[in-house]
């Protein structure tokens, strides 16, 4: 366990910037999002949640896969380079850290996604404990502990200091790079703050949200429940919920024809969109009810079924705050769990 003065963070990040790319929560106007931490950027580690999650750094909203050009009868295909430069993401909350593990279950299982894998290998995550958990947070429902975040290194802000604990080899190497800012700290010094965080978590509005009724093999029951009719009715099919969600993982693959060149790229897709899973024969989900159901069945049933029970929501609460129709996964969990209890 090390500690350093909080006011030294920008200098520390600048130093790291000499050997890797540095991303951190940066405030621009009224917004805080993870961005390149470059000179003059306003670091903001007080804002609890960025609008977008940091999943972009591993699964960018858009990325080119390859380009194809033709010369006479020859077609040249050039794969886009994989990420080979290290980078660090500073200040990731526990929920977003878990979200990366969930994405790993999908992208690092066979067939491994090379683009994702390369970013994962080059990426170092420094997580940050949540001193002030927010009203919409329900990470504890998924046994996530914001007082003891995971990742390559964990951090706690306590008064004017920031405590850093390396957890992996990557984390240890990173700590060496910034050693000139660090002094020894002790685990005892963070205990009080951890207790305070856990007390606050217990008082949050969703602290008793439980998944009872969702476990077990009841896929068809849940799929067919009449509740979907009621739940989806005012969904506008926009896609905010999928784009701000740290665990949403679907993408579409498209070609961009520039005339002389065809670029194949992939971009985030949303199950809320009308052409989601559109295939040559047509679409298997033709109503918003079916699309809405897909989002929640995927998170609460299909993904866990395929991944040893791992639910693909981390309780970050972003969708609770941002859906224009005030729909969200909490409402779905409550409704489905009730259904199965009776």
């Amino acid at each position: 366990m090390f500690k350093m003065a909080k006011k030294d963070i920008p200098n520390m990040l600048t130093l790291l910037g000499e050997s890797m790319d540095v991303y951190a929560p940066v405030k621009k106007g009224k917004l805080t999002n993870f961005e390149d931490f470059t000179e003059g950027a306003e670091l903001d580690i007080d804002t609890l949640k960025t609008v977008k999650s940091p999943k972009d750094f591993f699964l960018p909203q858009v990325e080119n896969l390859f380009s194809a050009t033709s010369q006479g009868k020859e077609i040249n295909i050039e794969a886009k380079a994989l990420r080979d430069k290290p980078f660090v993401i500073f200040g990731v909350r526990s929920c977003d850290v878990r979200a990366m593990e969930i994405l790993d279950s999908v992208y690092l299982s066979e067939p491994v996604d090379k683009f994702y894998e390369a970013r994962r290998e080059n990426g170092i995550i420094l997580s940050l404990a949540c001193n002030e958990p927010g009203q919409t947070c329900f990470c504890t429902t998924f046994n996530i502990d914001p007082a003891h975040p995971n990742a390559d290194g964990a951090m706690w802000v306590i008064n004017d200091n920031i405590y850093i604990e390396a957890r992996t080899e990557k984390g240890e190497n990173l700590v060496k790079l910034i050693s000139k800012f660090l002094q020894e700290g002790s685990k005892n010094e963070i205990v009080q703050s951890q207790t305070a965080i856990r007390e606050k978590l217990n008082k949050l509005p969703y602290s008793d949200l439980s998944l009872d009724g969702l476990e077990g093999n009841q896929l068809l029951d849940l799929f067919d429940t009449p509740q979907w009719e009621e739940l989806h009715k005012t969904c506008l099919a926009c896609g905010i919920c999928t784009f701000i969600c740290p665990t949403c993982q679907c993408y579409d693959i498209k070609d961009y024809d520039t005339g002389g060149e065809v670029v194949r790229y992939r971009c985030w897709d949303s199950c809320m969109y009308s052409d989601f899973t559109l295939m040559a024969h047509g679409n298997i989900r033709n109503s918003q009810k079916e699309r809405f159901r897909q989002r929640f069945m995927h998170k609460l049933v299909y993904h866990p079924d395929n991944n040893k029970g791992e639910i693909s929501c981390v309780g970050c609460g972003r969708c609770v705050n941002k859906c224009p129709s005030s729909l969200n996964i909490v409402k779905v969990i409550k409704s489905l769990a009730v259904k199965c209890n009776v």
């Binding site: 009203q135 926009c238 896609g239 905010i240 969109y273 009308s274 705050n321």
Partner: protein
């Protein structure tokens, strides 16, 4: 309290079979996030709420709801009735399938990331919609409508910038866009059956801003397409997760239309010809002659 009256009247109409469902706002997990909801029983209506957090414009939901048989009781605030009229004018909702109860409004609140109220919504700060433009009945004495700040102030500021500055401003703003489509889908004027940006048939589909050109194109096409039909209900700016001041774009069009063609308010009624979309072959001069006339 007006909420009680709304509940009572809705229950009465449902029980008498005068309407088949009720479109209103339902209690959320937080007092600050009531949910637009369809109520089908008197019991459900116990959860109906109406307060300063009921900002969602319910007119848009009628596009889907009035496709079905039956009649929907809908609660509309003054500004929402403009959207209703505009949708009516565009034949997208059926008047005979809806029953409008106009309700008073004292302005709605903006809510921050932690569900805390942080002052009036922009759309309410600049509200000029002083009465219900269409209704079957009104509820509540408190038909207070705010006479707000000048809605065109922001546009005037933009007009005073040099074109480079303005271009810089919009580039900065629009580069924040994550293309979640919330502004489009919440917008009552965005009601094409298949949006050009969703259309896979003609290579116009776009799920992402692949370049700064594309992020600008999405917004400029959208602004042009709703020009003359946008009632300035303010929903786009309300829902944008990246807090882009989208209303500035629409209000520029509204201001220009007012200046070029005379004052026009979309949704004020259903029969005033719209300056950009109505053309009468017998009475309107050919576009070329408008040009000559200046």
């Amino acid at each position: 309290m007006i909420q009680k009256q709304m509940q009572e009247r809705a229950k009465q109409m449902l029980s008498l079979g005068e309407v088949t469902c009720v479109l209103g706002w339902k209690k959320g997990d937080f007092s600050t996030n009531p949910q637009p909801a369809v109520f089908e029983s008197e019991k459900d209506l116990e959860d109906l709420v109406y307060d300063k957090y009921c900002a969602a414009n319910l007119s848009k939901y009628l596009v889907e709801l009035t496709k079905k048989e039956g009649k929907v009781l809908v609660f509309l605030k003054p500004c929402d009735t403009y959207s209703f009229n505009q949708l009516l004018k565009e034949n997208l909702i059926k008047k005979e399938r809806s029953y409008i109860i106009g309700i008073g409004c004292e302005g709605n609140m903006q809510v921050d990331d932690d569900m805390q109220e942080i002052g009036l919504l922009e759309k309410c700060q600049t509200c000029t919609k002083t009465a219900h433009m269409v209704f079957d009945e009104l509820i509540g004495e408190e038909l207070t409508v705010r006479q707000g700040d000048d809605p065109f102030e922001g546009v005037l500021n933009l007009e005073q910038m040099s074109s480079d500055e303005r271009y810089g401003f919009w580039r900065e703003e629009l580069s924040k866009c994550i293309r979640c489509n919330a502004c489009r889908n919440v917008c009552p004027a965005c009601n094409c059956r298949k949006c050009v940006f969703d259309n896979n048939k003609y290579d116009t589909a776009q799920k992402v801003n692949a370049s700064s050109f594309e992020e600008q194109m999405f917004h400029i096409i959208r602004a042009y397409h709703v020009a003359g039909r946008c009632t300035d209900c303010g929903e786009c700016s309300r829902v944008c997760p990246q807090l882009i001041d989208l209303h500035l774009l629409n209000r520029k069009f509204i201001k220009d239309i007012n200046e070029f063609y005379g004052e026009f308010q979309a949704g004020a009624d259903t029969d005033t010809p719209s300056p950009l979309t109505d053309f009468n072959i017998d009475t309107d001069p050919e576009p070329g002659s408008v040009h000559k006339r200046g």
